[in-house]
Amino acid sequence: MKVKVIIGKEEREVEVSPGATAAEVLKALGINREEVIIKLRDEIITEDETLAEGSVIEVIRVISGG
């Protein structure tokens, strides 16, 4: 199934197996789950929520080091 991922100003489409979780989408993109928060339809979700075909998730980076 295809899932759309919004990261800042960038938008990407990822192909994952049906019933994949948000964590699996992050893994496919090489993003560490410790460094982001996920939103689905404007609601923050846990990374173990399963997504559906056509889901749109927003990835918010939480790191502010320096």
């Binding site: 560490n32 789950r33 410790e34 460094e35 982001v36 928060i37 609601e43 923050i44 979700i45 846990t46 990374e47 173990d48 929520e49 399963t50 559906a52 918010i60 980076r61 939480v62 790191i63 502010s64 080091g65 320096g66």
Partner: protein, 304 residues
């Protein structure tokens, strides 16, 4: 497709605390977070009733979350809070975060004092970086630490609270291990004990960075999530990525690193820095004849 629910109620979960397996909805996450920060402050005896607390604010999620929780405790503990903001002089980054910090301080009714590198040292960070081969973080760390202490002393603060979170602490521990710098490793955990240095407290030191970000978002704190443009320069960035990779496959390892360090600390006391003396140039506490800030400033001054 059923939503995943909170471990404490039927609401949708927004956070899975992987190191304990618990899930929290918005309300229970905020409750858990604030309770744990208060427990941390009690455990390390960070606050005394009636104290004047300087709170270092940058406009980021860590410092504004610290300020938010302290302001909730202020009345109960009769605390007198003063926010302190340092403007390092970083174009296209700092102005927006200053605005956010000012707005939030006004909202909470906490007075704010702003000091800038340019006014106090004559050089903004952007200028210092152009004049020197040194990494921006070297200047920023030394100058910011000095100005925060100066401001806290000028305001008569008993303590200075900073927004350092668990990730910051663990990164500092690992960086010092990797560099073999045991003096600095010890300094992280033991106060230098100079009368001229305002004691520091870190209320978020046991809260993972991800939890702090979530707390700020869920509490509606107007915090910036922008990364400092100089952050990519630092060794810290590499160490952070390494620790987060370890945490991803071994949830809870950040706590293990902190606890291991705390257990080791009593055995490292022989590496504790000797008593501080006064800098020959500015009089500030220093481990050498002159303090690091004065040495760096001299590098930036063209020789006559």
């Amino acid at each position: 497709m059923a939503n995943i629910t909170c471990s404490l109620c039927d609401e949708r979960a927004c956070y899975l605390r992987r190191y304990s397996g618990q899930r929290f909805c918005r309300r229970h996450f905020i409750e858990y977070f604030e309770k744990k920060v208060k427990q941390t402050m009690l455990r390390y005896r960070m606050l005394e009733r009636g104290e004047r607390i300087g709170v270092a604010v940058s406009g980021g999620k860590d410092s504004l979350s610290t300020l938010n929780i302290l302001s909730k405790l202020a009345e109960k503990l009769d605390l007198d809070l003063h926010a302190i903001l340092i403007d390092e002089g970083i174009a296209n980054y700092r102005a927006a975060t200053i605005k956010q910090a000012k707005r939030f301080c006004e909202e909470l009714g906490v007075p704010l004092t702003t000091l800038s590198f340019k006014e106090r040292f004559g050089t903004a960070l952007d200028e210092a970086v152009k004049l020197s081969q040194r990494n921006a973080c070297t200047f920023c760390g030394v100058f910011r630490r000095k100005l925060l202490n100066d401001a806290a002393r000028e305001l008569g603060c008993d303590k200075l609270a900073t927004g350092h979170n668990l990730d910051d602490e663990v990164q500092a521990i690992v960086m010092n291990y990797l560099r073999g710098d045991l003096e600095r490793l010890v300094r992280l955990g033991i106060d230098a004990g100079s009368e001229q240095l305002v004691p520091r407290i870190k209320p978020l030191m046991e809260m993972p960075e991800k939890e702090v970000a979530l707390y700020a978002l869920l509490s509606g704190i107007p915090a910036s999530f922008e990364e400092c443009p100089y952050a990519q320069d630092s060794f810290r960035t590499e160490v952070r990525a390494m620790i987060n990779r370890l945490e991803e496959s071994n949830p809870g390892i950040k706590f293990s690193i902190l606890r291991g360090y705390q257990k080791l600390l009593p055995y490292l006391k022989s590496y504790q820095a000797k008593a501080l003396r006064s800098c020959a140039t500015c009089g500030a506490p220093s481990s050498g004849e002159r303090c690091k800030a004065c040495m760096l400033l001299e590098e930036l001054t063209p020789s006559a």
